[in-house]
């Protein structure tokens, strides 16, 4: 059994890649890695394209992370999705954007490209002419008394667009197929060739509810590429923002899940608590969602005494009121009846898809990027990573509840031990120093949904040459299809909300 490092050793290592290593490998080594994935020994962290090259980020059994790249002249490479299904949609997306053709890919339908771009393969060296829009063929599900229910992309409520095609037998869902890509904004295309600060703002706009996590991941990748050391106070402030974002989103989610079971009381109370966190964020950092506060090189603006007080009072209030809400959730039989045993996700699937966040942890996958590979300042902070085995909606709610408690404690610890000093170093100087050498950086950050991966290359001129952002939802959306099977149609909103995958972050 090879380790990831051996594989990278066998290839041609790339200079200036940090942290971890990247190697250009031969097709044989590539296939060896696919074998490890298919056998379930390694996890796929991401797969993305570049003109004439395809990259794959991997996590091996020793929790070692590395990137292998396969040059593919002619745009052909051996498919990963053929033997490891989690890569399917990533390969289809890379095919749409770069025209890279995975050999043997079982599903060759377009994914992000809906025939509306006016061009095909927009990020390839030579984009193709516009293709005629073809109708999307949903996978067939045939049998007696089966009927189809198309839902979306425009929904009755004001939510993001996505199409769901249900095949149901009466009320029981036999198959669900998703079609996404309606909110493709071309972020990776916009980033290519833009200066670092502009790219950072773009990264922060990938998915509104995870703007802090995206900005943090991007900033850390840039700093890794340029070898910039961020002042300690900035590192701690970043963690503070990330935990506040996690708190706000988890509180909102817990309420929203209950609301989908028509239990509006929880929604209202959780909404109040979420609002307290957002206002504290506004008071402390000048923006409710703390957008554009984390920049490569540090953070924008320092935390003053007033902001600290605002955060402390919000935390105190949540500490007082949240336990009562948890009790209400736990003691409402009618609500428990809806969430327990609904939308069960099998442990094996969660492991195979390397599902991050509450989706994975509610199904027994013990992984948290804050702990492993880990990043500052979490190595100095005390926190638990809750893991449950049930994998149902109820388990996903409980993981969120436990994470809220952990985040409250983390915020308190951070405020307690916040170092003094400057909060930003000038990144422009580092960019200038490294001009002439392409440098690559990578970061894995735990957002509220799960681990998100950012990989980028800063070119010789100091501009971002290629940046790939992989949302945790890439590996969670397919699991939703599996989790809903055998449930009733009317339980889908509940399951969907308990996954709460990002449309925007996925469609990019």
């Amino acid at each position: 059994m090879p380790a990831l490092l051996d594989l990278i050793e066998a290839g041609r290592p790339v200079e200036h890649h940090a942290p971890g290593r990247r190697a250009v490998v031969a097709p044989k080594t590539w296939n060896l890695a696919v074998e490890q994935l298919a056998a379930g020994r390694w996890s796929l962290l991401g797969l993305w394209g570049e003109p004439e090259t395809v990259h794959m980020a991997l996590l091996d059994e020793a929790r070692e992370i590395g990137v292998i790249s396969l040059p593919c002249p002619g745009g052909r490479y051996p498919s990963v999705g053929l033997r490891h299904p989690p890569a399917l949609r990533l390969e289809r997306a890379a095919a749409d954007l770069f025209g890279l053709l995975p050999q043997g890919l079982p599903d060759t339908r377009r994914w992000l490209d809906h025939g509306q771009w006016g061009v095909t393969h927009p990020l390839a060296a030579q984009p193709g002419a516009a293709a005629a829009a073809s109708s999307y063929r949903f996978l067939p599900a045939e049998g007696e008394s089966l009927h189809q229910i198309p839902v979306g992309p425009v929904h009755a409520g004001i939510i993001e667009p996505g199409h769901f095609r249900f095949t149901a037998s009466g009320e029981i869902v036999v198959r669900l197929e998703e079609r996404l890509g309606y909110v493709h904004k071309g972020i990776e295309g916009l980033m290519a060739g833009s200066p670092v600060d502009r790219a950072a703002r773009l990264a922060g706009r990938t998915s509104g509810d995870s703007t802090v996590a995206y900005a943090l991941a991007f900033a850390r990748a840039v700093e890794a590429a340029l070898g910039v050391e961020v002042p300690p106070r900035a590192v701690w402030l970043r963690a503070l923002m990330a935990e506040l974002e996690r708190l706000a989103n988890h509180l909102g989610d817990i309420g929203a899940i209950c609301n989908d079971a028509a239990f509006a009381l929880m929604h209202a109370h959780c909404g109040v608590l979420r609002e307290r966190v957002l206002r504290a964020g506004n008071a402390a950092f000048g923006h409710r969602l703390m957008r554009d506060r984390i920049v490569p090189g540090g953070v924008e603006g320092d935390l003053n005494e007033e902001g600290t007080t605002a955060i402390r009072s919000a935390i105190t209030e949540i500490r007082q009121r949240f336990p009562h809400l948890v009790e209400l959730y736990d003691n409402t039989a009618s609500l428990q009846d809806r969430t327990v045993a609904t939308g069960r996700l099998k442990t094996e699937l969660a492991r195979q898809y390397a599902a991050g966040g509450y989706v994975g942890r509610a199904s027994g996958r013990d992984f948290d990027a804050r702990r492993s590979p880990g990043y500052a300042p979490y190595d100095e902070l005390a926190f638990d990573v809750p893991v449950l085995q049930e994998g149902d909606v109820n388990a996903r709610v409980w993981i969120r509840v436990r994470e809220v408690e952990q985040s409250l404690s983390l915020v308190e610890q951070i405020l307690e031990r916040l170092p003094r000093g400057s909060v930003r170093v000038d990144i422009a100087e580092a960019v200038g120093r490294h001009a002439g050498w392409p440098r690559e950086g990578m970061a894995l950050v735990e957002g509220f949904r799960g681990d998100m991966l950012v990989w980028l290359r800063i070119g010789e001129t100091g501009l971002v040459e290629r940046c790939h952002l992989r949302d945790p939802s890439w590996f969670q959306w397919p699991l939703l299809e599996a989790a809903i099977e055998g449930n009733i149609v009317a339980d889908f909103p509940l399951c969907n909300k308990s996954f709460n995958c990002s449309y925007s972050g996925h469609d990019l």
């Binding site: 009927h147 189809q148 229910i149 198309p150 839902v151 929904h155 009755a156 409520g157 004001i158 009320e171 209950c258 989908d260 079971a261 028509a262 239990f263 509006a264 009381l265 929604h267 209202a268 109370h269 109040v272 409402t332 009618s334 609500l335 009846d337 809806r338 009733i488 149609v489 009317a490 339980d491 889908f492 909103p493």
Partner: protein, 318 residues
């Protein structure tokens, strides 16, 4: 002169239900909002909604038949008649002889039948889902309702509401277990019929969980206004029905003077408020049940009503 007065009172009742129905829904929404620590929309918001919808253009699907356009008016008319028949503040009105429980059940049943037809008319999948769920609910709610009617008829000796209400207000009625069971069964049926939590959620935006809302998804403009109005009227109808049969105190009896009519009106307003608050509290404290649990819920109502009827037979023969 007496005839004109009686006609005026009857007319007042018909207008009253029309005027009060949106207010009751607005009131329930307001109480629910306050319970959730929200300000909530003003009480008159349902009136504004109706006005807004009436002014809006109607958007019709290409394949909508004439039935689809006619049905909203049919539903509104049937529900209005049914709601106007139930004694609100006075019994023994001019047309009270038509206020038969079975007639009311039949009127509501036809309204439902037409709505389910309209839902399937355009051929969207949500309409189909909504119609099939609604009919599933109705197939249990209607027998339960009829059994409740039988119980009441056995106790009061008539299915005519004025007579039932007069009997229930009299001291002859006594404390009966059957009546208690009927009351619980009627409340359960009322919750299901009015698409309230835990059977359906009137405020949901999730198209896959809807029952009533799924059926009317394709409606817009004045058509939707008619259907919404019918929904408001239906809630008022059930609240009036429960209060006139089980809490009949304060009802003005046949041939009463203006003074007792005023007393009846005030009592009626009080009953509506109490029932509205109870409904809001109940809806706040409970989550919606799975669609497949609804038959259990209504099955319990059916069983209670059946037990109530059986108990009456048993107690009579002894």
């Amino acid at each position: 002169m007496a005839l004109i007065f009686e006609l005026a009172v009857q007319g007042a009742q018909m207008v009253l239900v029309l005027v009060l129905a949106p207010l009751l829904t607005g009131f329930v929404r307001k109480v629910k909002a306050r319970l959730q620590r929200r300000q909530g929309p003003p009480l008159i918001q349902p009136y504004r909604d109706l006005l807004r919808l009436m002014r809006k253009e109607v958007v019709l699907a290409d394949n909508a038949s004439w039935l689809f356009r006619v049905i909203p008016y049919l539903i509104f008319a049937a529900t209005w008649v049914a709601a106007a028949l139930v004694p609100t503040f006075a019994t023994g009105l001019k047309f009270s002889w038509t206020a038969d429980l079975i007639a009311i059940v039949a009127l509501l049943g036809s309204a439902r039948f037409f709505l389910a037809l309209a839902a399937m008319d355009v051929g969207t999948s949500f309409g189909g889902i909504g119609a099939s769920r609604e009919v599933m609910i109705a197939s249990l709610a209607e027998p339960a309702m009829l059994l409740i009617v039988f119980s009441l008829a056995l106790v009061a000796g008539a299915t005519q509401l004025s007579t039932v209400a007069a009997f229930m207000a009299s001291p002859d009625v006594g404390l009966r277990v059957s009546l208690g069971m009927s009351l619980i069964a009627l409340v359960m049926v009322a919750i299901a019929e009015n698409a309230r939590i835990p059977v359906d959620n009137p405020a949901t935006h999730l198209e896959l969980t809807m029952v009533h809302e799924a059926m009317v998804l394709e409606y817009s403009g004045r058509h939707l206004a008619m259907i919404e109005f019918a929904t408001f009227l239906k809630l008022l109808l059930y609240v009036s029905l429960i209060s006139c049969v089980f809490i009949p105190w304060g009802l003005a009896i046949a041939g009463a003077g203006p003074q007792s009519l005023v007393v009846g009106a005030v009592a009626y307003a009080g009953k509506l408020a109490v029932c509205g608050i109870l409904l809001a509290v109940f809806e706040t404290a409970i989550a919606k049940m799975r669609v497949f649990r609804v038959p259990d819920f209504l099955g319990a109502a059916l069983m209670l009503a059946l037990l109530g009827t059986l108990l009456l037979f048993v107690s009579r023969s002894l």
